[in-house]
Amino acid sequence: MSPTVIILFLIIVALTLAITYWASKQTQTTGDFYTAGGELTGFQNGIAISGDYLSAASFLGIAGSIALYGFDGFFYSIGFLIAYLVVLFLVAEPLRNLGKYTLADMINARFDAKKVRGSAALSTITISLFYMIAQLVGAGALIQLLFDIPYWIAVLIVGTMMTIYVLFGGMIATSWVQIVKAVLLMVGMFIISFLVLLKFNFNIGEMFSEVKTATSHGAAYLKPGLKYTQPLDTISLMLALVLGTAGLPHILMRFFTVKDAKTARSSVITATWTIGIFYVLTLFLGFGAAAFVGETKIMEANPGGNMAAPLLAEAIGGEILFAFISAVAFATILAVVAGLVLSGASAFAHDLYGQIIKKGKASDQQQMLAARYASLAVSVLAIVLALFAQYLNVAFLVSLAFCIAASANLPVILYTVYWKRFNTTGAVSAMLVGLFSALILVSMSPSVFSPTEGAALFVGEPIFPLSNPALISVPLGFLAGYVGTMLSSSKADAKRYAKVKVKANTGYQETGS
């Protein structure tokens, strides 16, 4: 490990700890802890959303996929971006108008039933944990590669850092860590892209001609079909990507950090521009890595292609750029896992403890304490699971998290806001059917069972053919919400819906709430 890498690494650690220290002084109430007091500006929140969303899987994973599989690697970039149109057009503003801290709060604007809140908390916790395990296992492997330290130490470092941010600085620290990380990441992306373009004389056509011959795939590299060969599997994955974002609890939670729907809207706009530019740049990184690092070297460092971006930085920018990009990758992981801890903890402490067990009667001090205990518990649980999962292939957990979000959360969000007849039974059935159909189908899928040893969790023939079950589980989630509502004898409360509808669409808030 070079001294430059160590110094940059320590600077990032020091900077984020300084932010946490400052944030801990600002965190006085439960509202500060969960939502930074709702005081972020649209621009700040937009950048923080980008920081929360652009995970190591996006940065290193997509760059690597494009480097190795050309066009097919780019599919992810497109799906992840268009997802923000779903967020903007259908979800962000009503969510902000109805919710307080969590997804369950928003659904509870219509139903007081504990089982609805409980189901929402269950899906939030499942999504957050899966996502976090995937991030931590990826982080451990990556830091092991970048800094040459053992996996378990790497996981402990990342785990301890995320726990400190959330425990002491809550949402304020988490948001600012995400903002700092997003800025560093974009700077890094621009520098590498600029250097890559410089090598191609700023001629995009030349870049395409060059990569056409740079890989062993030849002309096929620029065509779809290198990675995704089964049409239904591709479409299923694309479905999970585009609908999942609008149901991801750690992204939804970010909309409660601003004061109103208008600010929520402007944060989606900032995020969409930032994220869009980022994904365009992933192409330069991927192509650059294919041309200047080469397939063989990328595969040698890591068969999944995760080292493509750092290796490219080294090839075109030398030691310093390599160190900078490694440090950025580290910051990227920290920011994302911190956001996940917070959303998991909010489901435990606010939904399960505060609202269900204490029936909303806990004092602010009790709630704050519960939030901190829950953060600690979620962190420790994730770290322990990640330590056991070292040798498992868990990359599919990220797309599974998107799939659960799209199947269990999105139907309920949309029905709550837009469907008058929707009732408690419908809400519970949609969430449970969406969640469990995704889980059961994936457990029988090629992501879990593969005839080749090491390619998936278990060796064997998959019973269910699609790697990502979204194509089946998303319609099931919507259907269950509909059927559950229709079969139930409980009448929808027309007065309550009128209120929800008026509030969701006008942003009206009672004074004092």
């Binding site: 057009f89 307080k100 395409f208 620029l222 009206y508 808030q509």
Partner: protein
């Protein structure tokens, strides 16, 4: 809690707000109608535009024909997805500001009067 207080909401003048009346009022119905007219077609459009990409790449080959030099139509279509996203964002913001005006009007004239005016 924000929304669990039941129906004893009161407007500025102190009387309970009849949200059903607000919902039935002409300005609110117009807002809902305008929103729907805007959101539904655009949402269908971007979802169709998006899924066309994997459907066309999975079941046809014609996107593989060259568009500009070594850049084939599939790349042009992929970049068009980015442009489409940014354009729709911009259109949405413009349109949403008119919804904001309508919403403020409803809050001022309907809700703060307890839903009495119609």
């Amino acid at each position: 809690m924000v929304n669990e207080s039941g129906y004893n909401d009161t407007g500025q003048s102190g009387q309970a707000i009849d949200f059903e009346k607000v919902e039935q009022s002409r300005p609110f119905k117009k807002l809902m109608h305008d929103r729907k007219k805007f959101i539904v077609p655009y949402t269908i459009f971007f979802l169709v535009f998006y899924f066309l990409l994997p459907i066309l790449t999975s079941y046809t080959n014609f996107l593989n024909t060259p568009a500009f030099g070594d850049i084939s139509w599939v790349w042009v279509f992929a970049f068009a997805q980015f442009i489409m996203t940014w354009v729709l964002c911009t259109i949405y913001v413009k349109k949403a500001s008119t919804f904001d005006e309508q919403a403020n009007d409803i809050i001022e004239k309907q809700i703060k009067n307890g839903g009495k005016a119609s």
